[in-house]
Amino acid sequence: MKKFIVITLVLCICGLMPLFSAGASEKSAKQDMIVYHWWTAGGEKEAVDALFQKFLEYYPDVNIIENPVSGGGGGVMRGQIKTMVMANNSPDTFQLTYGTGMLGSFEEILEPIDELFEDFPLPEMVKEMGRVNGRQVAVPLNIMRNNCLWYNKKLVDKLGIDANFHNFSDFLVACEKVKRAGYTPFVIGAGAGQQHWLAQMTEQMILGAPHGGPEYVSKLYEGKANILQDAAIREMFEFLATLIKKGYINNDYSALTWDQGADVLMTDEGVFYLMGDWAKGHFTAAGWVPKVDFDYTTSPGTEGYFTLHFDGFSLCKNAPHPEITMKWLEFITTAEAETIFCPLKGATPPRLDAPTDMYDAISLDILADFRDPKTVIVQSVFAHPPEEYLGVFGNMLSGFMENPNVEQGIKDYAAAYASIF
């Protein structure tokens, strides 16, 4: 019996040996690069694959260990990264929304990478968005404009609507016209796990409110707003309540994902859709032609403003392979990388010197606005406030959507705001 046990134990130990040796060999492979990102949908997946492929042409001895984690606009991946960091198992680099609040939420685990910004032609405001405590901690890869109001061009032309909405009233007049014609005027897609789109949508409404504007939005995201007193919050709620009460919103908004919301325009049921410029990629992937089947305008009252955030990458503290990761980060700051990635994803490049001849008419409009020195850049809800803002306000606003009582909405908003700041 004793002999049997001894043999069993020896065999067990021998069986476990390869595991230890595998760990050792992994450590010795210096050219691995562990990357986490959340690009798994059509367009974005092809874009990141093309980017990796080009990087491997320059660095063929690198083994990219890619970990795509979809869900929740990156929320699932960020949760995973946090558990890994807590277990002292940091990746080399991971995708992160480029903006002061989101980067600030991760500041303790990001390495400064100032040297990559020495010859990086970006607007100063964009560089500022990537700084935490005065140090650059991420590089931006593509612009994402948030204050876009997409519309079904054929229906808008058919109904004779001028799609330039200088204020909320202009838009409400158009909505009434659309509703009378039998279409859904304003489409929302904010189903389970996607309530954060409500926070993104109301951000554009606060920005476009008579007492809103870029300065107020910045104040709001820095915890300096007085929610119960500020007119912009009341104006946003009154506008949203009107849209709900007048039946301008699709009744299945809370069962749809953002892309299913975009589909409502493509089935000629809905007319307007307030969503970031990533919706363009969805429309074109489905065969819709920009400026023919669909077009965009700035959301009501936000003309001259550019609400944005970027997809970015950072260098993790305690990254197992920092040298090659810095090469990767340096590579994605190049015009070449942006030119490979952005057209495939349907996005636009942040470098001011990136070539533009491969973009469609809508992307060129967006780029022209971005590069126009008169345009006021506003950090979006994905970038400026702390990470929890989206979740807290998404849930709070889903309650307002069901019970559009302005006074109660303001109180709930104030309570949610106080829970963050």
Binding site: S105, Q195, D252, A255, E388, N395, S398, G399
Partner: protein, 298 residues
């Protein structure tokens, strides 16, 4: 087996790996989590400082969502068990009758249990869709338009819609346990009852069902353990919404910890969940031991 010194040594050796693993991955991490619940850790990558009971005061006195999550977890638990247990008994009794294709029915009842939670959640989310979902479509086809509801997207009924999915997934498990219990009732007792002229109803009411106490305790404990930490369907179907109307403790704990980065508060919620589970589950266990002990003394 005689417990001599040699055998005791072997028993110790064989139990050691399991004890070490359970000790490390359950009790060490549990202790660590409890310790974290007394810190103000709210920044990723930077451990917090000792803050005493602040996190517990925060969740119990300043966090209405947490209180709501407790209530909704308990409502979900009670409804889930109150529906699943009788349904399991009923289907097990029906299976006990001499019915044709008994195996087919048994398999049908068990199929939902074999589904992955993600697949089930996606299927039910399609079924619950307000416009294109099969449930509302059937209701409209039957001219019952008034009964068509925004199942998952209304604060009034989303929680009940989720309870229904849990019942659907787990009733097969209750059926299985009860059917095993009913099948193991000694045939001699049933024969004696038949000779005494009991009716079918009396057979189940007075003989078969009273003998299902062990099965009931098993099902009850397992369903309780599961329902107190429900997460999967809630996260997949509603993510706690709309307006926190389906927020439950596990989902809220995940949200607070990994979305809001409040690790100390998340740990306090998880410690509370642990204590709640221990309290609810340990009471019947202690009660049964006391009863057994008293019975032994007699």
């Amino acid at each position: 087996m005689i417990l001599n010194r040699k055998n005791k040594f072997y028993i110790f050796i064989f139990l050691l790996p399991a004890c070490v693993l359970v000790g490390l991955f359950v009790y060490v991490f549990l202790s660590w989590s409890i310790k974290v619940s007394f810190t103000d850790w709210n920044t990723i990558g930077k451990m917090g400082k000792w803050c005493g009971l602040d996190n517990y005061k925060q969740i119990f006195f300043n966090d209405p969502v947490f209180i709501r999550a407790i209530k909704q977890t308990l409502i979900l638990t009670v409804l889930f068990i109150l529906i699943t247990l009788p349904l399991g008994i009923l289907t097990a009794v029906l299976l006990d009758f001499k019915v044709r294709a008994k195996r087919l029915f048994r398999t049908l009842y068990l199929i939902p249990l074999s589904f992955s939670f993600v697949a089930s959640a996606i299927m039910w989310s399609w079924m619950y869709m307000p416009n294109q979902g099969v449930i509302n479509s059937v209701l409209r086809t039957l001219s019952l338009d008034k009964l068509a509801q925004p199942w998952l997207t209304s604060t009034d009924q989303a929680l009940f819609a989720i309870v229904l999915v849990y019942v659907w997934q787990f009733s097969g498990f209750a059926t299985l346990v009860y059917y095993s219990g009913i099948s193991s009732v000694p045939i001699e007792i049933l024969d004696a009852a038949r000779v005494d002229g009991v009716t079918v109803f009396q057979k189940y009411q007075r003989i078969v069902l009273p003998l299902q106490k062990p099965a009931t305790i098993t099902v009850l404990l397992l369903l309780l353990m599961y329902s107190l930490r429900v997460f999967d369907f809630v996260w997949l179907l509603t993510d706690g919404g709309p307006a926190y109307s389906t927020e439950v403790l596990a989902n809220y704990m995940y949200r607070v910890t990994f979305n809001y980065n409040r690790f100390g508060i998340g740990a306090a919620i998880s410690t509370f969940m642990f204590l709640l589970s221990v309290l609810i589950i340990i009471i019947p266990v202690i009660a049964s031991y006391i009863k057994k002990y008293k019975g032994g003394k007699k």
